[in-house]
């Protein structure tokens, strides 16, 4: 079953749909026209470029090229996590990269090599979209984990110091905030699994059905991706927070001010 193409005139018709929310927001006095226009333009250009690149990637299907694409995605995700979590990239770049790279490579490899088993494990049709989807969700989790952990530490500085004064090691003193941060980071993935299929039809499954797959096959892939998202988010958050502990504190277990971006974070 072929997916019906959307011809360019009909794409223009699609963009026209945006006029309705734009008009409503304008009537409400919300001056968001510029933001909306930039966002739609960026989305269109970025996806068009990705489309061109993916087409080339699928045609060549070269293991190094596929690996390079995943590396670029990891680097962009790394910088995005740190910027959104309010931490300075110059200190945490390597630690966050190590955390997300190890967990993404592990869960994608597990899924592709052991579960899906394509002829070539590096097949772009599998590893590129799967790694991308896992990484996208993992990114959200890592932003939450780092942001929650370091803002809790700064907010509860006196409590943390009290724990140290009572004989706690650094790890013992940060453990309550560590647990809360990991819980907050993985909660969306758990909630999402619990309501999957009831509240909304998941994106990947919808995509596969539109692409002509049998619903049952789409369901199996959706389950596989959700389990991988949950696993990689949990692993990456724990590894990321653990590695960051060696960077964010001085030898006296005091949180270093200079590692945190000044501004909204606190």
């Amino acid at each position: 079953m072929e997916t019906l193409d959307i011809a360019l005139p009909r794409m223009a018709l699609l963009y026209g749909l945006c006029l309705l929310p734009w008009l409503l927001l304008r009537l409400m006095g919300l001056r968001l026209s510029r933001d909306i226009a930039i966002s739609i333009l960026r989305m269109s250009i970025q996806l068009a470029l990705v489309g061109i690149y993916l087409k080339m990637l699928f045609e060549l299907n070269h293991p190094w090229l596929n690996g390079l694409w995943i590396l670029v995605m990891l680097l962009v995700a790394d910088l995005s996590i740190l910027r959104r979590a309010g931490l300075k990239a110059r200190y945490f770049l390597l630690a966050t990269f190590a955390a997300i790279a190890s967990s993404i490579v592990f869960s994608t490899a597990y899924l592709v090599i052991l579960v899906i088993q394509p002829t070539h494990f590096y097949d772009a049709r599998y590893i590129v979209p799967l790694a991308g989807m896992i990484l996208g969700n993992c990114l959200q989790g890592n932003v939450i984990a780092l942001e929650r952990f370091y803002s809790a530490l700064r907010k509860n500085e006196n409590e943390y110091t009290t724990f140290l004064m009572l004989g706690a090691t650094r790890w013992e003193a940060v453990r309550p905030y560590f647990r809360e941060a990991v819980k907050a980071a993985i909660n969306p993935a758990i909630a999402s699994m619990a309501t999957m299929g009831l509240v909304s039809l998941p994106g990947m499954m919808t995509g596969q059905i539109l692409g002509g797959s049998e619903p049952w096959l789409a369901v199996k892939y959706q389950i596989a991706i959700m389990i991988c998202i949950f696993t990689s988010t949990t692993l990456a958050c724990i590894i990321n927070l653990k590695l960051s502990l060696n960077i964010a504190f001085n030898a006296f277990d005091v949180l270093r001010d200079e590692v945190i971006q000044q501004g909204p974070f606190k």
Binding site: N158, T162, M165, L166, G167, A168, T169, A251, F252, D253
Partner: protein, 220 residues
């Protein structure tokens, strides 16, 4: 007798501002000292520097004649109790707060008995009922005494007290004075309370991060 604490020309800067400048003093085991001075003169910073919470720009802090290093800071923290004006109990109930440090590796296996908990509370004019109370529903003065009780349960010998009598009534204050009458306990405190000052053997007067005056009295 070697000093328990020695500051040797210690200067501390934070956020490009000098908070302690060329501070030198010694404190012998069992001595009771008080730091006086205007707000922002560096009194609390001395306590925090000793605990390794401030970065020293120059000079050396010694604890039991060992220069302050990350390892010796851990030893000071294990030996000293720091009690501020509004101590953090770090647990939901008073019982959990008193037992909290015994969950840490450093104190595992030394968990006090119920009788010891009650006894230490009574020493500080608190009743056994206090154990069941919720930490968020107790007064500042009670929190200070619970933090002190926790230090006593840990067998701490050095007490760093920041305005510890500020929220206490007369009876509780007397109980605290009695605890610190113990010649084995060393105290370095920050206070403006004349009664507390009268019970200290050394008064350090601070002015804009400098030690302006030291008064030694014979009432240790």
């Amino acid at each position: 007798m070697p000093p328990i604490i020695r500051f040797d020309r210690v200067s501390v800067t934070a956020h490009e501002k000098t908070i302690l400048s060329d501070v030198s003093f010694t404190l012998l085991p069992g001595e009771k000292a008080v730091l006086c001075g205007k707000s922002g003169s560096g009194k609390s910073s001395i306590l925090k520097t000793l605990l390794g919470l401030h970065t020293i720009a120059s000079g050396t802090v010694y604890f039991q004649e060992q220069a302050l290093t990350p390892t010796s800071a851990q030893a000071i923290r294990n030996c000293a109790a720091y009690i501020g004006q509004e101590p953090i109990l770090g647990a939901d109930s008073v019982r959990e707060a008193l037992l909290l440090p015994f969950q840490f590796k450093a104190h595992q296996g030394h968990r006090p008995s119920e009788a010891q908990l009650v006894e230490v509370l009574q020493r500080l004019q608190l009743t056994a009922d206090m154990l069941k109370r919720t930490s968020s529903r107790i007064s500042g003065g009670e929190k200070q005494r619970i933090a002190l009780a926790r230090g006593l349960l840990l067998g701490k010998k050095l007490y760093l007290l920041d305005e510890v009598t500020s929220a206490l009534d007369e009876k509780s204050k007397q109980a605290v004075f009695e605890v610190f009458a113990d010649p084995e306990l060393t105290v370095l405190s920050v206070s403006h309370d004349p009664e507390w000052l009268a019970r200290c053997s050394i008064v350090f007067e601070l002015e804009a991060g400098r030690l302006a005056q030291v008064g030694r009295y014979g009432n240790t």
